[in-house]
């Protein structure tokens, strides 16, 4: 997607968040546009907190944040934002005794889709997108992990949200479901914005127009995937033996040792991948 045909959907300026004495986010500056933005980072980097702030589930302690043109700290603005976002939490809880239909219906009512005919067609639409329409009368407690995940994703699509926030949406999905998920997200991102947090650089490579790498609550990188790969240019080395001075290294399937950071003696420079770019960014001291 070109920068010219994207619109700004959310803008963060100096956003910070603390839980008690522990600072989780420090002065995050970020502009979210139409298309897919991927949040990458190690556990504890602040990805979930940032998504929760964007979803209005948490209030920032510092900085300014506008989502879809409204200030998250203004109650009326927050209400308008909530009407136009879809959110998949990292651990979406379920009413286990509900059927799939009942659960999505419950969320549709919380979304204030009050007209019963419209609500019903919207529920069928999102369940159909996630290939769950055939299971809509099954109880959630009997569904597999992947099916539950698809139900959770279906509820986030209710009302065709202008901003879709997905916290680790591909965890637990098999390859076919992952492909289906990518198709759905790509379709949504044609006219709306999607922000997803993930540990998978494959997801980023397949989906994202923009990548944000968080590290210890700060932005370590913002840019397109190609720029993230370029960030590791000149830092990826291949050798026949491990080099302990490198920031990180591992033995690849071909038997060579891949290093990021300082090269071992006699190592050859290698072309970086997206994963190398990510590891280079998060392993820098």
């Amino acid at each position: 997607m070109n920068a010219t045909d994207t619109a700004v959907v959310a803008r963060l300026a100096g956003v910070g968040k603390r839980f008690g004495r522990r600072a989780v986010l420090h002065g995050i500056d970020l502009t979210v546009r139409t298309g897919v933005t991927g949040l990458l980072g190690p556990n504890g980097a602040g990805k979930t907190t940032l998504l929760r702030i964007l979803a209005t589930a948490l209030r920032p302690d510092a900085g300014e944040l506008t989502v879809l043109g409204d200030d998250v700290l203004d109650p009326d603005g927050r209400y308008r934002i909530r009407q136009r976002i879809g959110y998949l939490p990292q651990q979406p809880g379920f009413h286990e005794w509900d059927t799939v239909y009942d659960f999505v219906n419950h969320v549709a009512l919380l979304q204030e889709i009050n007209d019963s005919r419209r609500r019903q067609s919207e529920i069928l639409r999102v369940l159909d997108i996630m290939n769950m329409a055939d299971c809509m009368h099954q109880h959630l407690r009997w569904l597999s992990g992947g099916q539950r995940h698809r139900v959770a994703l279906a509820q986030a699509l209710l009302g065709d949200p202008q901003l879709l926030l997905l916290d680790e949406p591909t965890v637990g999905l098999d390859p076919y479901e992952r492909l289906r998920f990518r198709q759905v997200v790509s379709e949504v991102a044609r006219k709306n914005a999607v922000v997803l947090s993930t540990h998978s650089t494959d997801d980023v490579a397949a989906l994202c127009d923009e990548v944000v790498v968080l590290r210890l609550g700060r932005t370590a990188f913002t840019g397109c995937p190609a720029a993230m790969i370029a960030a590791a240019d000149g830092h990826v080395w291949l050798s026949d033996a491990p080099g302990p001075r490198a920031a990180t290294w591992w033995r690849a399937a071909d038997g060579h040792y891949r290093h990021i950071g300082d090269p071992p003696p006699g190592a050859d420079l290698a072309a970086p991948t997206l994963e190398d770019g990510y590891l280079h960014l998060v392993s820098r001291s």
Binding site: A55, R78, Y101, L109
Partner: protein, 286 residues
Amino acid sequence: MSWHLQSDTIGAYATGRLGVASAGSVEAHLLECGMCRAKLAGLAQSEAPARRRHDDSLAVILDQIDRPQPTLLERFLTALGVSPGLAKLTAGAPRLRQSWLVGGLAVLAVAVLVAQVGPGPAGVVMFVVSAPVAPALGIAFSYGWGGDPAGEIAVTAPLPVLRLLLLRTVVVLLSWLPVAALLAVALPERGRVALLWFIPAIALTSLTVALASFVGTARAATAVTTTWLVLAATTVRGTRWTTASAWLEHSFLFRPIGQALLAVIALGALVVAIARRTSFEVRRSS
């Protein structure tokens, strides 16, 4: 082609009424014969509106069958002017919601039994002290103990959480107060003493809602009911030869001044809950 399909055969094929073998031979003929293909196309076109009407009516019937019917509680709330959507959400609380009612009824039934057959006024006192506890617990259970499992989705939805909580609270009170009042009729004591639980029940419920804005419904209900039971148990006092009235009025909670104070607390707590309505709409921790 020297022969052609008869019109009724084409009609039966178009509407899927032919068997597999006959349909196969018709299809073999259609592949060779342009005239019969044209006749089939014309027939399909002329039947399209009727078919569409049929499909539409079928869709309406299926729609009616599939659509969940409103429950009695939903219809009652809608009759009171609550929107159908909000009524469905209120009535759609987790199934655990019934357990508080059953538990509360069991305690009161035991109290009534003790009051009827036991010596002294202990049963009446037990009834008056325990009756206010059930609705406070009912609020917590109406979201599932430990909170709404889908709470993170709920807090980011546009429907105000407090509106739903208050509506469920009203339902809890409407379920409990008449039931407890009916059981109170079975007590050997009548009049004011048998109704001393009423204001505390409202106060404990209201306090639970207000405290829930700080710590969530489950913790709020636990704190409020435990405090109430400890206060009542340590201040109510008497002997088997004194009346229930004497037992209860030994405690400030059941004297007129205490009851007036509880009424004021009930109102104040409701004001606090409404003033803190935005705190229901965000997570309380990481």
